[in-house]
Symmetry: C5
Subunit: 340 residues, 5 copies
């Protein structure tokens, strides 16, 4: 599957910005609503179930405040949700805060980032997304249809699954970057141009940004894997450990790609130089051959009264002979020196 903007039509109405999925082994309920119906939805939360509250769009301050009040969220946490943050995991008294970047690749070139933040409590998980639309639709179906383990597990497993889905998408994006590097490498060898160079620089830049999103994520997950959080159960740490391994794998690939792209720059510069050198060399060889010939014909264009060669019967033809000899000699010399 080519990475693309995930579907943004999972909701019946466009104005819906709050979604509650509440489930346990037996039951599954889903409520969606706008900011006007926030309280009624929040009241649907049931303590004996896993409650996943998903907030789309962070511009409605009223909504955010209601959620904050309902779950007693720290004001610093809300600041972090609303502003651009490096991926991190932070343990509060009553919940675990986790924020990372979700990746989109729109129309195959530029990478788009969206910050997604999670608050994991005892029996709930809140997810804050900047924009509508995410990669979780398939997973929502799996919850509803009770596929896989998720309905048998608690909120921490839900968090793992969502992070896992986001990280899986990094693989798609990085694979696409890998393909682009391969394509560019072929182009560089065959036809180095300013376009190719711009493309290489673009790749370099994307890798710099990816690095900024991925490296702190590794540290954030490492905190959970070390068992520092009270909200992730011992038995589920292995799952986070698995995502953690994936992120390390991704950072490894990132470093590899970085080296490959830097290698591409070298190849490009070399290819450009080689091409330029070839042009200059051939042109210079042509000039060099004709300059002595022009001198010779100049000699016999002089108007001295006493120039014996001018009166010779075969003078003109001899000059041609001499010139042909010179050309052949020079060509042989250049060929011998492997100059073209």
């Amino acid at each position: 599957m080519n990475p693309q903007k995930p579907s943004d039509n999972h909701s019946p109405t466009d104005c819906e910005i709050l979604e509650l999925i509440s489930y346990n082994r037996e039951l599954h309920d889903k409520y969606t609503g706008t900011y006007t119906t926030v309280e009624s939805i929040l009241n649907k939360i049931q303590p004996d179930r896993v409650n996943w509250i998903n907030v789309d769009g962070l511009n409605n301050q009223d909504l955010i405040e209601k959620v904050q009040t309902h779950f007693c969220l720290h004001s610093l946490l809300i600041d972090d949700v609303l502003s651009d943050q490096r991926p991190k995991a932070e343990e509060f008294d009553d919940y675990l805060f986790f924020t990372l970047k979700m990746l989109y690749r729109i129309d195959g070139t530029a990478i788009d980032y969206e910050q997604i933040s999670f608050v994991l409590g005892k029996n709930y998980l809140i997810s804050f997304q900047e924009k509508e639309g995410d990669w979780f639709d398939g997973f929502r179906d799996r919850i509803r249809l009770d596929q896989g383990r998720v309905r048998k597990k608690q909120a921490d497993y839900l968090l793992y699954r969502l992070i896992d889905i986001i990280v899986d998408n990094y693989y798609n994006v990085l694979d696409r970057v890998g393909d682009l590097i391969d394509e560019t490498e072929e182009t560089v060898y065959q036809n180095p141009s300013t376009q190719t160079f711009t493309k290489i620089q673009y790749l370099k830049k994307e890798l710099i940004y990816l690095r900024k999103a991925l490296f702190p994520l590794r540290d954030a997950l490492s905190k959970i894997v070390k068992g520092e959080s009270d909200f992730v159960k011992e038995e589920n740490i292995r799952f986070f450990s698995d995502v953690y391994e994936h992120v390390i794998h991704l950072t490894d690939s990132l470093e590899t790609y970085k080296d490959l792209v830097s290698s591409l720059t070298d190849i490009h510069i070399n290819a450009m130089n080689t091409k330029m050198n070839e042009v200059m060399k051939v042109l210079t060889v042509i000039s060099t051959i004709f300059i002595p010939l022009t001198f010779i014909v100049g000699v016999y264009g002089m108007n001295f009264h006493y120039m014996p060669e001018l009166d010779w019967r075969w003078g003109y033809y001899s000059v041609w002979g001499v010139m042909i000899l010179i050309v052949v000699g020079m060509l042989a010399f250049f060929r011998h020196k492997k100059w073209f």
Copy 2:
């Protein structure tokens, strides 16, 4: 808001260099004075309030000594306040010493640094500034008007807020640097020139200096975050932890910008080379076309008595024909080789 030199007109008189803001939940007093009235102001300090003593200008030795005596400050600490220091946090018996750099960006190009030092005691905070004028005016109003949490908190929270304001300003400066990088990138692709290169080098240099101010700040805050200080209460460490995260975010961005600027240098060099190569190529192609032609006309400028072509009726026109053929052939060849 564009980062600018902060207002320097918060004081009624220019000669005022000492300011005491003394507050608790109910009361708020503000005293300002010059070095002649230092003692009377210091006597206004009340043990049951938070006392913020702000010193502007470090040249008046008499003033510094009076403050030092009043609070029993270590002579090494005063040395550090007066000389250029790398950002650091140092725990003394009776207070915590914290020093960092405050950033200004005057008229949008050069970054200006001012060293600001804090001494945090049980119920007081002393701030030493090199020059008058700072970023705290809005915050002074918030204290006076009892907005936010500050009046309910102790001196350590005050220290957090001041550091937070300074670090927030780093974001403004770094955003401006980011904008400059974007602007320069566009220029580099469109019109690479020595001016662009100088601009890139300027950016590089600013980043080097920023790095020198930011990296030690991270270490200094990390000390407090680890709970090593007795003067920051357990409950307020989370706030410092938040500033600490911001500083790490800033250092991440700094590294990203460094990579982007180094990438810009590559792009610039490549653009310059490409431009130069193009000039040389076109010019050389012109020379190369005319050199053989000049040779040919030279041939028929020779004065040999026996040159049959000269007497031909269509000789002159034939030569023109041959020359046109040569030009067309060479152009076709160059075009085929994609040399221009």
Copy 3:
């Protein structure tokens, strides 16, 4: 021995994909089968022996599931076996999971990687290979013939031996890379060309990939060497420590090769430039010599009515004399300046 694709004819029938070698000090049995006979083979496992189950090919889901069920393997583990992983060691409750890359070098140029995963239990070792054919045939014979220590040891020693064989093969591959670097260095000095540059870039790329396979392996082995695993006996840690040392030695060599290849790039660029400069210099010198001469003969090609030199008896010869003097003078000057 030149590294090559290991023999893939160790099996009597092509469709065999499961192999069980079961041994202790006295007894040795070998069973092979296809996925249809999996259960019957798994039933042959005897608790008082070391049982080595080797699975070739990971596409038969049925087979994998049967093995998974029989040994109660975690689903995450099976995911890791089936997808591309960075080398790692992971301790589960009932077994140790170890995965790494096996190297092939087919026809002396491109390196081929195959992921091989091990599951080490109390009395068994399962190995999962992507493709048929491995480097273990000689070792299978040693087990059968009871050579060396292996029949006297348990399953953890078996794991050590298999990893050791794979790592030994890294040496072969790295030696070949070392030879290629030496060959290329000689070529670069004698005849730098685009082919050589491509070759250097190819080497660089291979080293980047090798690095990605080797560095995580070091970390994985380090886990075992530190005694973190319950499935490797204290007395056998020294053996793993030995492989660990080999891997560190390999990473050292890798770094050395990386430096050498980067040095090669410098040498190549310098050689190219030197060659180009020489060409340009000689050609420019030729042009420079003939340009003044062409000017002189041009002078006496002018048609002024009053040019006294034209009527001189020895005018023509004098011009030749002057021109020869100029050539000799210029050559002497160039030689003096060491320009060619």
Copy 4:
């Protein structure tokens, strides 16, 4: 103050190579002598005072041996004093050994290094210097006149003060390097030349050597700051901590300078290329304009009998017109392409 070779005339006679300053709160004695009077001076050491023994010149083996015997110094320590060492702190049973480099800047260009070693015992401090002359004369006066804290403190404070004086001198040297970098930067932009490049390389080299002297010093001081030494009292660690901070500040500056110098190299290379390109461009433009003109006049220099233009009344003037048109056209084209 410009860093200079420190005074070498603090001693009445040139042959004096041993100096004993013995002091406590009340008393101060100073003895100097040559190697012949070593014993008599060493006998002047009084257990209830701080005794500072300064040895100038390390060539007199007899003297060194006497000192070694008197203080029971380890033979490895004496080896370290006599040979070139990286800065380090080493704790022995009866004393602390500390060695570092003292910097001189003679006549503003080359940096000169001298190794200075300290042995700190219970009530004495021995300093070994390679050459006569040091930066301590002002401090000797302060001891004599009982200025500052030194007479109230023990030998460990004396060690701190001497190291502090040496490290302060590093600041002078590094400031000078900073000034040189600024000067060179201006020159590079205005007039890049081989001299500038050599200067940059010289700065790079000095920074490499400074690095070698400064980085191990950081580690050595860190040992003392961590309280690992029995010979530095708890209360005085803060002073060493202060020097330690200075050294870290210095290493930061060093890294900054290294980046700036490396940036200078880039600027220089770019400036050189720009200059060269400009020369080549203008010259090539001139050639390119005249080559087609020379062709045209060549055409009418041909001797064909039937060349109608030659007989035209305004032929000559028409040719001039055509040529002027060509020149104007080409200049317009070049100007349009921004080639000069």
Copy 5:
């Protein structure tokens, strides 16, 4: 002393490959023999003395096996002795294994490496050398003549002394490298050539290999210094600590040399470019001056019937005047632009 291949004539007969030096405070015995007399020599080992067994040449499997059996050496240890290893220290139950590289510099250019391995037991030290000849002859005499401390110490001190001698030799080799760098730097400034570049690359390569030998040695010694070995007495750790410091000093120098060599490459490339630019500039200037002149004389070589200048009395001389003016003007312009 210039580092050279150490003497290889310390043995009376060439076929001698085993040497036993057995000593204590009072007694000293030396036995040498070939592999045929191994047992008889090994029987001479006396438990109350320090026994140094030196094995020259590792090709005689029989000998190695006898030694292995006599001292119960682990088979992995023997593998390490016989194959190329990175320097390391490894603690076994009954002995400490230490392996490192011994350096030779043959005829002043190429560095030669020999692996030397030590096995340190309670009262013996075995040294395995690849080839005959080592740096220990002077030390053997010191043992025999009871000079220095060695006869009063145990086998661990003997190991220290041997390692110390080998490390001292690294200094010689590195000093030689330092001299070569200085020599090359002078050459680069005066006469940059391909030979110089090759020399620089050679130095780079040697440093890469030295690095590979030195860095692991640091780690190996660090293990002993930390007191992890039971076979090195507490009181002798200081000696190993001293060698350890030397090795760190050496690695520092190595890094410094690496930076200097990389700086040399920059200088060389700059020098080459400067030289090439100068050549091109002067040659181009010459061409540029003559091209307009050639055009002018071409003008008056035209054969138009109506060219008034041709008939002027002073036409020819006027043309000369104009041309001289042009040359003078161009030279002035070039000089003004500082183009040559």
